[in-house]
């Protein structure tokens, strides 16, 4: 790309190539995608996560055992052709429950990350754009949530998540993930605010709320995409910790956290009860982190190739 084209040259170029014939400038999305898939981490992370998704959602469709089924002829048996990952003490099939747990962890992680990043974008952009009392109140709330021990609050509220109320769990999880990002967004909004296109919009009489949603937040999209990715792994890790102690996903439903908690008790003499769930969790989080890192490099043209 030639970085020194002056405006008349650009206009000339547009006029001389009607209908976009000539040098096709690749769109930003395509550039980012090419850089993302060009990196080792991006390819590996994407492939791993795709495999995890496929296994978690398509696996149970072809597998004969459901996650609530019990095989009363096989208690705590090692992996075999009929039970790919072996069975638990109750006779439940480890592959079936692990895939169910993966579904829950992936869905909870993705949704919580989306909600928290959206919250961070809105709060940070409003605080930075409006300043004054809006800023003071919003940032004080962010400070307050940083001080409140998230694990404790979520654990205390855990009775509310029982009986299929996991969407509430997702919202609460998201509520404790947005604070640091919102401070970064606020800082970036402060500098965006002085840019010409924002000033132009303001002088044209566009309403402030509309400026925030149409001009400020879209210009922070690269930061937000990367942040959302990293929040996925943060949400999955938090969910696992809570579920491990019985404060997250409640039985009869399972998540990787509850499986790891049960498996750790029998791990020394029945390793398959622990290592499959733990291993898949680690691989999932690793894949998400690799994607986040590759995305960060892909969005940032000045990024050092930190490999």
């Amino acid at each position: 790309m030639s970085g020194h084209v002056t405006l008349p040259d650009e206009q000339l170029a547009e006029q001389s190539s009607p209908g976009g014939v000539g040098v096709a400038v690749p769109s930003r999305g395509r550039v980012v995608a090419r850089r993302f898939f060009g990196s080792w981490g991006g390819r590996a992370g994407f492939a791993l996560l795709a495999v995890m998704f496929l296994a978690a959602f398509a696996g149970p469709l072809v597998y004969p055992w459901g996650y609530t089924d019990k095989d009363f002829t096989a208690f705590l048996t090692p992996p075999s052709p009929s039970h790919w990952f072996g069975t638990l003490q109750t006779g439940a099939d480890v592959f079936a429950v692990t895939m169910r747990g993966m579904q829950k962890s992936l869905v909870v992680g993705l949704l919580a990350a989306l909600v928290s990043t959206a919250l961070a974008a809105i709060v940070g952009a409003f605080a930075g754009y409006f300043l004054g009392w809006t800023d003071r109140v919003l940032m004080w709330v962010a400070d307050l949530l940083l001080v409140l021990p998230a694990f404790l609050i979520l654990a205390v509220m855990s009775p509310l998540f029982a009986a299929g109320q996991w969407p509430l769990f997702v919202v609460m999880l998201a509520l404790f993930l947005w604070m640091v990002t919102s401070k970064v967004v606020r800082g970036m909004t402060l500098s965006l605010k002085e840019r010409e296109f924002i000033l132009a919009a303001r002088f044209m009489g566009v309403s402030p709320t509309r400026i925030v949603f149409r001009h400020v937040i879209p210009n922070l999209s690269s930061l937000l995409v990367v942040d959302a990715t990293l929040n996925v792994s943060a949400a999955i890790l938090t969910e696992t910790g809570l579920s491990y102690f019985g404060f997250g996903i409640q039985p009869p439903d399972v998540s990787l956290g509850t499986l790891i908690a049960d498996g750790s008790k029998t791990a020394t003499y029945a390793p398959w009860t622990f290592w499959f769930a733990a291993g898949l969790l680690i691989v999932t989080v690793l894949a998400v982190n690799l994607i986040g890192d590759a995305l960060r490099d892909a969005f940032d043209p000045s990024a050092r190739r930190a490999r």
């Binding site: 940083l146 409140l148 910790g241 622990f274």
Partner: protein
Amino acid sequence: MAGFLARRLINYVALIVVATSLAYMLAASALDPRSNYEARRPPPPPAVVDARLDELNLNNKTPVFQRYLRWSWSVLHGDFGKTTVGDPVNADLARRAGVTLRLILVGLIVGSVAGVLGGALAAVWQYGWFDRLTTAASFLVLAVPTVVLANMLIIGAVWFNDLVGAQIFLVSGETTPGLEGGFLRGAADRAQHLLLPTLSLSLGLIAVYSRYQRNMMLDVLGADFVRTARAKGLRRSTALTKHALRTALIPAVTYFAFTFGALIVGTTFTEKIFGWHGLGEQLINSIFTNDVNTVAAISCLAAFGVLVAALASDLMQAALDPRVRVG
């Protein structure tokens, strides 16, 4: 500087008060101490339960706000109330605070020193084998949740002990009860107990700090002032430690305040899994036993801890960065 710190301090105190009050209200309305009595056989008469709950300020028939007023009044006098079995919360937590503090301090020192050193060295030897190894290792460690890491360490330790036929790693509690022998034997026993929990707590910190410190250090290494330091005849090691590392430490110190909250959660998991009788273990137990007063007291301590960390990072920043001291 003093005025700035004073304003910070007032804001922090206000945050602690609001955070603790919120935690109390939430715990008081979500937890149900009455259910502890219903499980007893034979169930005690309701009047007796009510009288007992009233005495402990845990009766859910009293409006939450009224209970909150009585609780905050006693907290103002330095008393966090009583547990569900009637023991004073203060005495219990004072005993446990020492355990948690020992674990958290050792974990924090090991984690931050090793992380900063590892990250700085990785930056100095960018793309060398050490850099590649630490980058890969930290990526892997960051993907392992504390609960899994702690269990993996325990499983590994049991396997290793079986292999060598001796109890090298001890995985439960802080000391061996009823241990005979002198001071040295006791110290060795403590070290054996401390090793794995410290690892479980600090590995994550090392990974986070080394990644962060590596990036900061890389930014600084190419800077003019480091070249100037070398040009005026300083040895490479002196230029790197006195000029580059010191400057690169400033953002890491700011970051320290943010990681402290995560450290508290990590300590909770570590204590519970390794059977250390500290605050974190008590937090999980108290939620299960509907112990409202203990939950509120621990959240107050946690908020206090986070803000002490924030204040410490402000002060360290002032110590490292002359511009903060002057400005």
